[in-house]
Assembly symmetry: C2
Homo-oligomer: 263 residues x 2
Amino acid sequence: MKPLYVIKIGGNVIDNSENLYYFLKDFTAIEGYKILVHGGGKIATQIGESMGIESKLVDGRRITDIETLRVVTMVYAGLINKNIVAQLQRFGSNAIGLTGADGDFIRAKKRPVKTIDYGFVGDLDEGSVNAGNISRLVEADFIPAFCALTHDGDGQMLNTNADTIASALAVALSQYYETTLVYCFEKKGVLQDINDDDSLIHDINPKRYDELKKHEIIHSGMLPKMDNAFAAIANGVRAVIIGKSDEINKLKQQQPFGTRLTQ
Amino acid sequence: MKPLYVIKIGGNVIDNSENLYYFLKDFTAIEGYKILVHGGGKIATQIGESMGIESKLVDGRRITDIETLRVVTMVYAGLINKNIVAQLQRFGSNAIGLTGADGDFIRAKKRPVKTIDYGFVGDLDEGSVNAGNISRLVEADFIPAFCALTHDGDGQMLNTNADTIASALAVALSQYYETTLVYCFEKKGVLQDINDDDSLIHDINPKRYDELKKHEIIHSGMLPKMDNAFAAIANGVRAVIIGKSDEINKLKQQQPFGTRLTQ
């Protein structure tokens, strides 16, 4: 199988035009099959506010009501996604900007209402990603650039977490490609000492992960990220890399980059 | 060569959710290769106003300054385009929503400043449409749905008239397909008597067009539309149809539909 990278960037890249410029330039230099997934950043909140639509939080969790869905559809799929695509094209990447509705690539289920109604939020399951359709696009020499939106197959757009989309894409495409999932992060990767960038842990396998948890080197917010990464690996992804966006060029040079999680 | 329809809809379809619903249902039923092109509608103006951005007109012509470009990128490529795609998917059309930046499909040139600075408006020329890239997407069984945005190849999105995009696509794709360009219109087509829907003129060729102009049956606002249509035909498009969106199902049934312009 041929290798394929699924690379996810978040707000720290998107909100800073200089970071974004250099990231997209370096992304273009990576050879072979690749897919970009991007989150939203602060701009959706800013634009929502300029339209008089405030972010709604319940118990600290963001709620996507119909007005918020309109804003994120405009900002994620329109403003952010198309500016990323136009820049990738400038650098020579033949990108196509996508939501999960396009090509029926990612079909989600609206989150059921239990104690909290999250609104138009879509959850993914093992059947959500249409890997065959995505593969046809990739084989036609296009580079998919996904924003954090999906659809329900019945005409409704849904807001879906970008990390989850990246992971679901990497798992589903591992039928066709040897996939590596890359999460761009504000740090160089998983650090032995969070205050020391030189304490990067280069490789973690499940056994090492258990030790790192036991010694509380990995804890709190990192735990769900790591658990999801190892779940992706258990489901066919060759490796998950957690690294800093401004070092992504190391992928091209086949140099060690960030923290590499493997089976 | 296989047939391909390029079908353009404007505000009278987009602004009315019921019209849009039935149009997209009928569009889905048309067999074979097809491309949808949609304009903006009133919603861009409404959303711009809700953000405190007013439409700027100079000598009655709309100006796309940087703020307006941000609004139309959000509304055309985000809100309108993705809702169209999600609805097409519901009906079973495997649509992908696009701007000209995606896949480098349509590369425009920013309109030069003469007496008026139109801002971020892109004009097309004979090299603008990358028909090879679009054909690869179409052959991979996707249905392109274009909004009225292009890029300059240097990272800049541009606002481009949807009629012009539809015509340029039909002309360029006539290298690969027997293309028919369909403009959906508020009337049934070109009428002998503008107040009588039963006076539809079914067929117009250049000779008939000259007669209709001489007798002032076609005049004023229709002249540039007709001239552009005959220019498209002279450049390889098999036929241009001007018809009403709610009669588009006639295309499927191979029935006469609207006014058909041919060589």
